[in-house]
């Protein structure tokens, strides 16, 4: 079996729990980065993709803690995760 590899949150399969390993804060606009922190996104936190608006690469619905947050793909691409 392969060792679990890091991948962008954007590419994480739906309903696969994962842990955030890095967040490229510099790739995000300041208000976006702040809101992301306010929602509790940081290294070591468990997340899971619940839904994808697949049509034309729409946003993703991401579970964090007991909450669901909608994120655009570019934001989800800036977050790197490791599948649990």
């Amino acid at each position: 079996m392969l060792a679990p590899a890091s991948l962008p949150l954007e590419s994480l399969p739906v309903r696969r729990p994962a842990t955030i390993t890095t967040i490229a804060w510099d790739r995000l606009a300041a208000p976006e980065a702040r809101r992301l922190r306010e929602f509790g996104f940081e290294v070591g936190v468990h997340v899971e993709i619940l839904h994808r608006a697949a049509l034309f690469r729409g946003p993703v619905a991401c579970r964090i803690g007991r909450m669901t947050v909608a994120l655009r793909r570019n934001v989800a691409a800036a977050i790197t995760v490791m599948a649990d």
Partner: protein, 618 residues
Amino acid sequence: MSILPLVALVGNPNAGKSALFNALTGARQKVGNYPGVTVERHSGRLALDDGRPIELVDLPGTYSLDPSSPDEQVTRDVLFGKQAGERRPDALIVVVDAANLDLHLRFALQLIALGLPVVIALNMVDLAERDGLTLSPEALSRELGVPVIPTVAVRKRGLDVLRAALTAAVEGSATRAPRDPSAADQPIAALQRRARELSKAATLSETPTRRWNHALDTVALHPVAGPILLVALMFVMFQAVFSWSEAPIGWIEGGFAALDEAIRGALPDNLLRSMLTDGLIAGVGAVVVFLPQILILFTFILVLEASGYMVRAAFLMDRMMAGVGLSGRAFIPLLSSFACAVPGIMATRTISDEKDRLTTILIAPLMTCSARLPVYTIIIGAFIPNTAVAPGVGLQGLVLLGLYIAGILGAFVAALVLRRTVTKGDSSGFMMEMPKYQMPRLSDIAIGLWSRALIFLKRAGTIIAATTVVLWLLLSFPQAPEGESQVNYSVAGRIASGIEVVVAPIGFNRDISLALIPAMAAREVAVAAIGTVYAIDDVENAAGEKSIIDNLQHRWSLPTALAFLMWFVFAPQCISTIAITRRETNGWKWPLFMVGYLFAAAYIMAGITYWLAVAAGL
């Protein structure tokens, strides 16, 4: 009057803050405005255990003390005692969602650090339990050093205990955390870690559930089923507006016809009788019949909002909105604008990006508001045959849907152009908490509908009644000599002749020119105005929708009717919308720009419609 102690309700969005505010203050509420900003101030009275009254103010929900919208700025300024027109609160009720402690406790930590007496309302504990969470308020209270009261605001549970704790807090006898200004500005990550520890300490057991919520989203957010469901919901909504309203409209019409009959019977044929029947009853009656349709539309919007579906719709729409430089967040104000642009424009306050917000405000009037419904319905009723194109799908409903879509497409094109010219800027992104689905509460919907009905009837009783009487005066004087048309001879007729020169190329006749003047006050007055014109011109028949439709069919060509419909898709004819835009953008620049571009668009689009229809031989 002595100044009452002030207590502020504060917490994250979706914590059930407003429900708690309603439960605590009941009907003793006041809605005002903070001076200088366009944020509503909700306040109410509440009696403490010892009978002493206090003032409770419901601050806008926010995720931190770092504001990113005008609403959130007010919350921060009030808490720091810097908001004009508001004193610093004497105590805080911090509302946290029991099912989302990780997030909500972080903000609570910031608030406790402000050093004000704090009572925590651990709200929606029933939903947390259903979610498989068992919490210990005592443990949480021990850790935080402030009272923690479990509540269920919508069922009024825990309110007595909360009031008792509040009494102690206001008297200053409650324990108070030492003021620690640095904690309020601690890095979010550090506070978040502390919040997670606290949440863990307060959680006795946790079983992951929320199955039904996920199951609903599996359908509602499905890549294929989701958009189909959204379109289907919108279609049902607009069909319902037409089909469910038939019976109540009949009753209202019957009522006005009876009133008209009674006055005609009671008064001799003089000017007073003409003013009452041809002016007031014809005008106001023509508008009030649309109350059932407006209420049906608002019912759908209120239910979609209260159930949590609206945010899902925003999620589905984000990609499309991003295509024109907006975000899914703009979908909620825009959908509200289908009922009325005024609350829609006010709802743009939640959009943090200034350019994004301005664009949304400028295109909001293109969403077909309920005031256009009277105009659309009557023209469609007169010119579009009531045939079925498929079982349950009528041609009239389809044309109406087409008009809504024309408005939406117009808005998209406008947004696309605006975002590349006057409101140029970076995309603001889309990041939004998706609240749990909830069963909408009947009483909340009823209160919402009631206030909408009152606003509409007030408009009918004031602006619309006044403009129809003024129009009647302008139409009735000077009185035409024998053999001359009264409408052509009157003051209004002469003004309309001037306007007609401008609008004749796009197929508008004199009746429309006449109707356009009073319709500046409110769109639905156009119908009332046409009703009044025909009531004066057509002395044989009693006023009413029936006679308006008969007259329309005789006097208007189909291309004219279609051009008129298209005009109303774009025309910015509503003083209230212009006024709210001025207030929300702090100046005349943007409302004037909005009026200018919408009139230009209305003229061009109505013209194209007319010329195409004529060319097609309609």
